[in-house]
């Protein structure tokens, strides 16, 4: 039992690493994608839109396989599996975050920009002090949905052989001829997501002082 829990704790650590690194890169990268999606340059706008369509229109599991194996078949280069997982997750999640950001940015009334301009705020000041705080409040609920999905999606990393929580649970289960480790893994995911949703609740409450 302790042996099993120790193994699973190790798997959990890998899952958390995937989770954290994906967020670390895709939250800012998604913003750049959103900017591209809203670009007035038709070429940029169309290309970014195509990228988003592909990321949202195909299974993440397939994207994982593609990102890991395509360089090998095309250029005969292979690379670290864990890196491939992060790359695929970041590409996929950035597309979703970009659309959430876009919705948030477009929900801010034009008057906020106009008031900022007339008062003499610079463009960066307007964005970081006036627009962004309002966007964050606006998108927090949809962001929490996506982040919770990410916790569960980390289980897909096993597709290309990365030993995250669910893979460890499955191998332990078959070694012990018992489904118990699978259900224990379920509890692990549930606890992680409980923490994530509590964190978002806290954030929403913090920002509820204005409408």
């Amino acid at each position: 039992m302790t042996q099993m829990l120790l193994l699973m704790a190790e798997g959990t650590l890998t899952s958390i690493k995937i989770f954290a690194l994906t967020l670390l890169f895709s939250l800012p990268f998604g913003f750049i994608v959103a900017k591209g999606r809203m670009s007035k340059l038709t070429v940029v706008n169309k290309l970014v839109n195509l990228y988003i369509q592909i990321m949202r229109g195909t299974p993440l599991i397939l994207q994982l396989i593609f990102v890991y194996f395509a360089p090998y078949y095309l250029f005969k280069v292979s690379y670290d599996r864990f890196t491939a997982v992060i790359l695929a997750f970041v590409l996929n999640y950035s597309a979703y975050f970009a659309e959430i950001y876009r919705g948030g940015i477009q929900s801010i009334a034009q008057g906020q920009y106009e008031a900022s301009k007339v008062l003499g705020f610079s463009k960066p000041y307007t964005f970081f002090h006036i627009i962004l705080p309002q966007v964050i409040k606006q998108i927090l609920p949809s962001l929490s949905n996506e982040v919770i999905t990410l916790v569960k999606d980390t289980a897909l990393a096993q597709t290309i052989g990365v030993g995250e929580l669910f893979r460890v649970a499955q191998t332990t289960a078959s070694r012990q001829f018992s489904t118990l480790p699978i259900f224990v893994a379920g509890i692990f995911y549930f606890v992680m997501n409980y923490i994530v949703s509590k964190a978002f609740d806290f954030g929403e409450k913090k920002l509820s002082y204005y409408k």
Binding site: A115, Y125, Y210
Partner: protein, 252 residues
Amino acid sequence: MSILSVEHLQKNFESLEVLKDISFTVEKGEVLSIIGPSGSGKSTILRCVTQLEKPDFGKIAICDQVLCSTNNGSFTYANKQTAREIGLKTGLVFQNFNLFPHYSVLKNIMQPQIAVLKLSKEEAQKNAFALLEQMGLGEKANAYPCQLSGGQQQRVSIARALALKPQMLFFDEPTSALDPELTGEILSVIKSLASTKMTMVVVTHEMAFAKEISDKVIFMDDGVIVEQGSSEDVIVNPKTERAKKFLARYAN
């Protein structure tokens, strides 16, 4: 020398000519009201002068600085630095206030002074409290805009504009989003500003108010100035049929 001079101003939105040939001046300490039907281009004038829109032709000069000019048919706009300097001399009060919802009343008034005028926090706060007192909102300093009535929000937005010490203040239908009771509240604030010789340009549908406070009135229709003169001339004794017809609606 006029504090604001506008000559032959033209503005098109695509093929729509919103301003056709607008010329007028405002002297220091004067109050100018711009009246006329919706869509006549009143707000667009304010938006050109406060740099929210770029005109297509003509000249705008504010406090002897040229924002845009047209020489031999070619239109030139001031460089960033000059445009910014001019922008600091003008303030604009919007129809729907446009307060920053995530800032308290106090911060709405303090932040522009700190970020734009580079005042210290203490100084900005002192000015903000003085302005709130002047607006009768002394106790609302820590409230958020969503907790205020429309009239109170508009008074905060006037205080926010005044905090930057503009040379002239523009009002774009400042009472159109308010009920009659709250309208009175805002009009009396503007009246008291007029008595301090603040230079103001007010776009309004409040005829009685315009007549009372204005040194000069412009009646616009379809992108042109149909009449301009003293409030007596334009509001009480309009000469053109168009102005007579428009003002008749306000007679009762």
